[in-house]
């Protein structure tokens, strides 16, 4: 137990927190990185990607949904947890169809950046090669479901910030996929606009602007320059 009120230990270091904050929020605010994909400072915790798992008093949980409490002993940067995170990343890579070398998001992609940061050197598992639909019906944006990781950030952004509810997830288990709120199911027929918050929230390359390609060469982009573990505190997550 630590004597300082409103503080817990993360890998042995004291982390101060405001009452009501989650472990992840408090850790990021004090400059300690915990890998995460579906968590975003602008939105309510979701807890689905599980990249931010930590062990608290011998129990595993998602640090984005666990409230910070005084005196907690939280483990995050351990070989075991990083191994588990690597496996989760590998799962996301084999579930979708991710072709980093030819992807416009390369270098700005959080999935890719975390894979580098956690030293994921291969996909390990057999790829699912699931057919995923690409939707190019919108004049300004592509929707490429091949790269979607089901984090629901676009769903939340469109519903909670844009007030449009353009996106939703439908299906169960492996069938889970992004659906668009329009009679045709196409993005072009929806209320989606390039000025939407949802247009710039995707951590991977599932929602990409048209007519912009490789303006900055791969190799000189955000996460090419600085690892994600040092960039996560700026809240500037846009690609």
């Amino acid at each position: 137990m630590t004597d300082i009120p409103n503080s817990f230990n993360l890998d042995g270091e004291p982390i101060p927190f405001e009452p009501g904050q989650t472990i992840l929020q408090a850790a990021l605010n004090s400059g300690h990185f915990i890998p995460h994909l579906c968590a975003h400072p602008e939105f309510k915790p979701h807890g689905s990607c599980k990249l931010c798992i930590v062990v608290v008093n011998d129990r595993t949980g998602a640090s984005c949904t666990m409230k910070a409490l005084p005196g907690l002993e939280v483990q995050s940067d351990t070989p075991d947890l990083n191994h588990r995170r690597r496996t989760l990343l590998q799962m996301l890579f084999v579930e979708g169809n991710h072709f980093c070398p030819g992807c416009e998001k390369s270098g700005n992609c959080q999935l890719q950046a975390l894979a580098y940061d956690l030293e994921m050197f291969n996909d390990h598992f057999t790829h699912f090669f699931q057919p995923r639909e690409v939707d190019a019906s919108h004049p300004d944006f592509f929707l490429d479901r091949n790269r979607c990781i089901m984090c629901e950030l676009c769903v939340r952004a469109s519903r909670d910030l844009d007030g449009k509810t353009v996106f939703g997830l439908a299906g169960r288990g492996r069938d889970l996929h992004l659906v668009v709120n329009s009679a045709s199911g196409k993005l072009g027929d929806s209320a989606f606009a390039k000025t939407d918050r949802a247009a710039r929230v995707c951590p991977v390359g599932a929602i990409l602007p048209k007519e912009v390609g490789f303006a900055k060469p791969i190799g000189e982009r955000k996460y090419d320059e600085t690892p994600i573990s040092q960039l996560a505190f700026t809240c500037d997550w846009e690609g």
């Binding site: 599980k50 996301l92 084999v94 598992f125 939703g168 169960r172 288990g173 492996r174 659906v179 329009s182």
Partner: protein
């Protein structure tokens, strides 16, 4: 916007009106709409969304989540064989093959005339009288080749289900051993009047003394749940009866709902009396749709006898009523927060906990979710008192427990014992003479070896939701493990990464071993995946999805050993098989252009 045809609209209008135009009833509305229209076309989904003024994505999310809602045509007659391991052991695969042959169908593909489709579904809860199937949500048990022939004839003749022989649909109770609950006489209103005599505080005290624990498997103390709900802040409180009995091999709740429903409903009313809740829900799994009409009739009868409704038993202010809510094929809805989401008309995705339902449940109000059997036990506590109740069973597990026994036994059915009974006694009583393994608590539970048959059924030793699937000495437990892996791949809700992807990976690896290409490498992969999925998943489904598999791997090593190849590794990719499509397209199949099986690509 697509124009809705007048027929669709005229069908939807009264259904939506019946449910008060409330999007919270979306799942019920879609179930009824499908009953009338056979499937839920994009047009129907759009019309429902417009009438309820909700995004069509929300309708699509519900349709795609529940297995028994269809967004593609599945025929006038939709036949689903129960895919549980006990049904399979009783001959279900051969019967399905027979039916497919008779109807000239492929599994899951609708006949050309749009008449019929035949597929498979997760355990239908008829394990003691299987093999079983569902036709348009109605259960048919005790299938034989002859009965399959008759069903095929009825389908071809387009006979309405109402005209099919009534004995097809008969579901037996099969109570083989009765004790406190199944064996005692019961007068309607007896428990309610006893609870009223104690008063709400007195009845809560009896509940505490009884040490009654939840019968759904987790074993949480019921009185603690009730007290937390009673003391939580809220405008309304709710009592939910979890009758989403989806655990493979479990069917006790089906019997309780069929023949002891009055006790279930009285248990709910008592919970309402003690906690201050005025409304209750029964969440009945879609597979038990046949129970709905008799349950509605029972509710009406109880209202007439003033055992439900306003001023129950003449006590002013004691108001409580019950609504039946149907599921539509989703095992995860047995998890209490997923169940609440489903009650609210959404996909059954487990919520983040805390807050727990007793604080923030249905419509964000304090909600008690109790298992069917637990609620029956409440009536025993009311009638006999908490101390008397605590007198049976063991120290930590008071009262009796109903066990659903199926598989390789002479007398499958329900067996009620005081807690503490040894596994071996249950097996002896049921006539399991050659058991080599018992799967306890369904696919999410543990698999016991004969060396463990001396263990006791109790929360302090072998806890169970009540399923006993018995495997005789001719059975291959690998088949069971493979069956469980397919079950969890199918039932994972998909919300969290480890469970969504992990259960699918486990199933692929199990298939690879099954096809004779698995080495020690695959065996070790299963262990690694188990460690990740069981510790990192969002809810209990993922946490338990690989339990039985791990038990079989560690306790029955020969089951896997004899299937594993001796090489270090063999690729899962079969190059020769992958060329099949090319051969088909090019219309060439040279004998010399085939690769030997297992060749390294």
């Amino acid at each position: 916007m697509t124009e809705t045809s007048e027929t669709t609209d005229s069908i939807l209008a009264p259904i939506i009106a019946h449910y008060g135009g409330d999007p919270g009833n979306l799942l019920q509305i879609l179930r009824d709409a499908q009953e009338a229209l056979d499937w839920l076309s994009p047009e129907t989904q759009g019309a429902v969304a417009r009438r309820l003024d909700i995004p069509v994505t929300r309708v699509a999310a519900v349709v795609r989540f529940y297995t028994h809602l269809y967004d593609t045509p599945r025929g006038k007659y939709r036949v689903l064989f129960s895919h549980n391991i006990t049904d399979r052991m009783a001959g279900s695969p051969a019967l399905m093959a027979h039916m497919l042959k008779r109807l000239k169908l492929k599994r899951g593909v609708v006949s050309d005339d749009g008449l019929v489709s035949v597929g498979k579904t997760s355990c239908t809860g008829m394990c003691d009288q299987g093999p079983a199937l569902l036709v348009n949500n109605r259960a048919i048990t005790r299938l034989t080749p002859r009965r399959i022939d008759e069903i095929c004839d009825l389908i071809r003749a387009r006979a309405p289900l109402a005209n099919w022989p009534a004995h097809y649909f008969r579901v037996e109770d099969n109570i083989e051993r009765a004790d406190m609950l199944l064996g005692s006489a019961y007068a309607p209103g007896e428990a309610l009047r006893a609870a009223i005599a104690c008063g709400p505080t007195g009845m809560m005290a009896e509940m505490r003394k009884s040490n009654l624990r939840g019968r759904g498997g987790a074993g949480f103390t019921t009185a603690v749940k009730w007290e937390a709900c009673r003391d939580a802040k809220g405008d309304e409180r709710y009592i939910v009866c979890n009758a989403d009995e989806g655990e493979p091999g479990t069917f006790k709740d089906r019997v309780l709902m069929q023949s002891f429903s009055e006790r279930v409903f009285e248990g709910m009313a008592i919970a309402g009396y003690v906690t201050g809740a005025r409304k209750g829900f029964v969440y009945l799994r879609g597979e038990y749709s046949y129970l709905r009409a008799p349950l509605e009739a029972k509710l009406s009868e109880m209202r007439r006898n003033r055992l439900l409704g306003m001023s129950i038993c003449g006590v002013p202010g004691f108001d409580f009523d019950i609504v039946i809510h149907m599921g539509a094929g989703a095992y995860v809805c047995g998890e209490e927060t997923a169940l609440i989401e489903s009650l609210e008309g959404k996909p059954g995705l487990p919520r983040i906990r805390p807050p727990f339902p007793v604080i923030c449940g249905y419509n964000n109000q304090p909600t008690v979710v109790n298992n069917v059997e637990t609620l029956c036990k409440v009536t025993e506590v009311a009638i006999h008192g908490g101390l008397a109740y605590a007198g049976t069973g063991t120290r930590q597990s008071a009262g009796t427990k109903i066990i659903s026994v199926s598989g390789d036994v002479e007398r499958p059915g329900l067996y009620e014992y005081p807690f503490g009974v040894r596994v071996s006694q249950v097996l002896d009583d049921a006539g399991a003479y050659d058991a080599v393994a018992v799967q306890i608590s369904g696919a999410a539970g543990q698999c016991l070896t004969p060396q463990e048959f001396g263990r006791r059924i109790a929360f302090e030793d072998v806890p169970t939701s009540g399923s006993f699937m018995v495997f005789g000495n001719t059975r291959d437990l690998f088949e069971a493990a493979l069956n469980y892996s397919h079950f969890f791949e199918h039932e994972s809700c998909g919300f969290c990464t480890p469970c969504r992807v992990g259960t699918a990976l486990v199933a692929r690896i199990m298939e690879k071993i099954h096809s004779g290409h698995g080495a020690r490498y695959e065996f070790n992969e299963l262990t690694r995946l188990h460690q990740l999925i069981s510790t990192s998943s969002h809810c209990g489904l993922g946490a338990t999805a690989t339990n039985a598999l791990q038990d079989i791997m560690t306790k029955f090593p020969t089951v896997f050993d004899r299937r594993l190849i001796k090489r270090d590794f063999e690729p899962g990719f079969d190059l020769d098989a992958a060329l099949a499509r090319a051969r088909e397209v090019s219309n060439r199949d040279d004998a010399n252009a085939h690769l030997a099986e297992g060749v390294d690509a």
